[in-house]
Each structure stands twice: as C-alpha cells, then as structure tokens.
C-alpha cells in the first residue's frame, strides 16, 4: 500500500502529469496547479519518481520537463503492432547527430563535417519532427542561422539532458567535437595533444 496515499499535492501532480498531452515543466505544473510552490512540486515529483521506479510505468525527466512513459524493458510487449516512428534517412540521422553533439551549429559547419552539401529538406524533416529548431544567428560574417535540438528531441530519445548523449563525454575529451583546424593546432602543439580514445 502506498504510504503517501493522502498527500494532496502528490496526487495533484500525479494526476496532472498523467493527463497531460506533453511533458510538463515545473513552471507549467505550478501554473496549472494554481497556488502551488515550485519547491513543493519538486518534492512531489521526487516522491513520484521514487514511487514509480521499477513499475511498468515510470516518471522521467526530459530536459526541463517531466512525463510518464512505459518502462523501456517492456518494449518487446508493446512494440508489436505499433511502429509510430518514422524512419529517418541516413543523411537525416547524421545531421541530427551533428546538431545534437555540436549545438548550436550552422549549416556550413554541418556540411564541413559531412563533406557534402546538406539538402534543405534534410533540416526541414528534422524541424518538422520537432527535434531541431533554428536557434538564432551566429555572430559571424554572413550571420548564418544556427540550429539546436529541442525538448522534444530529448523526450523522443529518452535523454534527461544533452549530457546524456551517448559517448558525448569521450568524444569531447578526444577532441572529436572540435573543428579540424583546432584539432590540427592541438596536434601541432604537442603540449595540448592529450591522448584521445578514438571511436570504435
């Protein structure tokens, strides 16, 4: 039997997150629950996370927002008739990864990594999916538009934050997220050339 059965705020947060059609931030919960205090809501969420841990449904954080979802290990039961996810072209997945690991990043930077021009449609597909957004312009000649990932990207790929991107720590320390010029200079100047575990 649940111990905190009675806590009205926990129940309210639980019900609201259950009923919501999208992940909710603490601020959104505050606003929705009227006079609730952000710190109290935070406590209620921690309560719920612990409570649902190990169940068939869990409460997870995606960026600044929270939502309920089915436990990943039950995928085999649920996947069956549902393939709700559109297949991405190889170009699109590559561009998505580059945006995620390098954000914010301009189209020219994406192209210099991939070594090919990126069709306009590729970024459009990612923006339409809601995973990539234009995030202003770079303060550089030509003021190019720069791109970044979204909250929906984190939610879709089950990431709490960009720090959870697979391998991002190793890639960064290996210098593989730095531009070629920087990496070259680092190699030319042996003081900076830390050993770097390459991919694979």
């Amino acid at each position: 039997m649940p111990a905190e059965e009675g806590d009205p705020l926990v129940r309210a947060v639980e019900a609201t997150l259950f009923a919501a059609e999208e992940p909710l931030t603490i601020a959104a919960l505050c606003a929705h629950l009227g006079d609730a205090d952000a710190a109290d809501i935070r406590v209620a969420i921690d309560d719920l996370v612990a409570f649902y841990c190990g169940r068939g449904v869990e409460l997870v954080r995606r960026g600044a927002a929270w939502h309920f979802q089915t436990a990943p290990d039950l995928a085999h039961l649920l996947r069956r008739e549902r393939e709700q996810v559109r297949r991405l072209s190889r170009a699109a997945t590559e561009v998505l990864a580059i945006v995620a690991y390098h954000e914010p990043v301009s189209r020219a930077e994406i192209e210099s990594i991939r070594g090919v021009q990126t069709a306009k449609g590729t970024l459009d597909v990612l923006m339409e999916a809601g995973w990539v957004r234009a995030a202003g312009r770079r303060d550089a000649p030509g003021r190019p538009v720069i791109y970044a990932t979204t909250q929906a990207f984190l939610a879709h790929f089950g990431l709490e934050s960009r720090r959870d991107l697979p391998g991002i720590g190793e890639l960064r320390s290996a210098g593989l997220l730095d531009p070629v010029d920087d990496a070259f200079d680092a190699l030319a100047d042996p003081k900076q050339s830390g050993e770097a575990a390459g991919p694979e």
């Binding site: 990943p72 649920l78 996810v85 590559e94 990864a97 879709h156 697979p166 070259f184 390459g198």
Partner: protein, 274 residues
C-alpha cells in the same frame, strides 16, 4: 587492377550499414559498381568506408593506401564510361596530388606540407566517423513510440477562459434612463426650434419704422445680442432672414423703401414718407 581486386576481396558484408552501402561491393558486378556511388553521401563518405575496411583505428590509418583505394575505385567506375559525380572526380584529383606530394621527400614539398594535408584528411574522417557512430547509438536508444510509450489516451489539460461580466447599479439604471429618454413620445423629441417667425419680424420692423425717416441698416432692426435669449447665433440668423423677407414685404406693400449701394453692401431701409 590488382588493387581493386584486393579491395573487393577484403570487403565483407557489414551488418550495421544499410543495404546499398559497401556490402554489395562484394558482387563483382561492374554495372552495380557505379550505381553504388549513390549509396555514399559524397567522397568523404566513400573514403570513410574505405578507411574502415583497413580495420584499424582511424588515427593509425595509412592515408597513402586509402588514396590508392579511392583512386582505384574511381578509375574502375570511370573505366565503365559512366558519368561520375563531379565531387568524386574533384576529390580524386586532389588525392592524386596528395599522393604525389606524400611520395616526395619532405624538403621538396610546398606549403602546406603533404603530411599536414594528410593529417587534416584523417581528422576529418575521424570526425565524420564519430558522428556516424553517434547517430547509430542515438537511434539505438529507447525511443518514444518504439520502445517506450506515452499514455495512449491522455485526458489532456484544458484552461477554459471564463468571462466574469461587470456592470454596476448606476450603469444599469442610467442605461434604462437612456432607453426611456431615447424612445420617449415624439413631443419630447421635437423641440421648439429657435426661430423668429415672419409675423413677428413684420410686426417688429413696422413698429420700429414708425420712429424715424432715416435710412437704417436691416441689422439694426434685429433684437440686440444683449437681449435675453437672443445671443444664440442660430436664432440671430433666423431673425436676419425673417427680417429681410419682412422688409421685402413692407416694400411691396409700399410701407417702406429698400436700398443697397452694391453687392454685399449694407441693406438700408426707411419708412416711405411724404
């Protein structure tokens, strides 16, 4: 082309690459060979694929043998007299240059040195390789709608905006007063218009003409502005019009004479006399 043979011999089906990648290179089918160019996202992609076949860390890769493989590949495709994408040919030319430079003794190389160019190429390949791997790992995560699912039929949160209407007691009764006033019987609506009738003008001028035989301006017959109630301009205009008509009438009936010395000059009036 022994190099090509070696390359193809080395190629193995590569499970995590989509079909259309290098896997089908194993077919010794020349026609298919060129078509495979579509399977690469440009020359860098092809180079990366070839580099992976060396089965060593990308940083330890032999650029020279990589260049050979690339040129071999392009040459072979070219030998089929098929049009090659310009990008691939440009890369081929650059790699050929790089190769010849690499073969020169270091002191004869131009700036930037071939070693530097090779290193840069290697760095680029490492970056592309890293991103390709990251993309694969990203796609392999528990994705919403594939491995994890959101609530199937959420009730949804709605915010209804409810209007709270405001009206006070005074506004209410004033509104009623206005309705009543607006729709009150017509007698209340049609008010006496401030006019001097022709009759009163005739009476007034006739009376005043009796006083003297001097010419008098028509305006002098009007009630003075100071007289109570006669200050309103609308009423004064009406008095002037009525007095003019009255003057014409008096002239017609021979009781008065009218004179005007020119257009827009004062209208003068006096009693006919004997």
């Amino acid at each position: 082309m022994s190099g090509a043979g070696l390359l193809f011999a080395e190629a193995e089906p590569d499970g995590d690459r989509p079909a259309g990648g290098a896997a089908s290179l194993t077919k010794a089918d020349d026609a298919a060979l060129y078509l495979e160019l579509d399977g690469w996202e440009g020359p860098l992609d092809l180079l990366l694929d070839l580099a992976r076949r060396q089965k060593v860390d990308l940083r330890a890769i032999s650029i020279l043998s990589l260049v050979d493989q690339y040129l071999e590949y392009i040459e072979r495709a070219d030998a089929l007299k098929l049009e090659l994408a310009a990008d691939y040919l440009v890369m081929a030319a650059w790699l050929a240059f790089l190769k010849s430079a690499l073969l020169l003794p270091a002191e004869e190389q131009e700036e930037p040195g071939a070693e530097e160019l090779a290193l840069r190429l290697q760095l680029r390949l490492a970056r592309l390789g890293a991103m390709r791997e990251a993309a694969a790992r990203l796609l392999a995560r528990d994705r919403t709608g594939r491995e994890v699912f959101l609530r199937g039929a959420p009730e949804g949160l709605r915010t209804d905006r409810k209007v709270k209407w405001q009206c006070d007691w005074f506004a209410l009764i004033r509104a009623y007063g206005q309705v009543k006033a607006r729709t009150a019987p017509a007698v209340h609506m049609v008010r006496d218009r401030p006019v001097m009738t022709l009759e009163s003008a005739l009476e007034r001028i006739a009376a005043m003409l009796g006083v003297s035989r001097d010419w008098m301006r028509l305006e002098d017959f009007l009630p003075g502005e100071a007289e109570p109630g006669w200050s309103r301009p609308r009423l004064r205009r009406s008095a002037l019009a009525s007095s003019f008509v009255a003057a014409l009438e008096l002239a017609r009936t021979g009781q008065a004479e009218l004179r005007q010395d020119g257009a827009f000059q004062p209208m003068l009036l006096r009693r006919t006399g004997s």
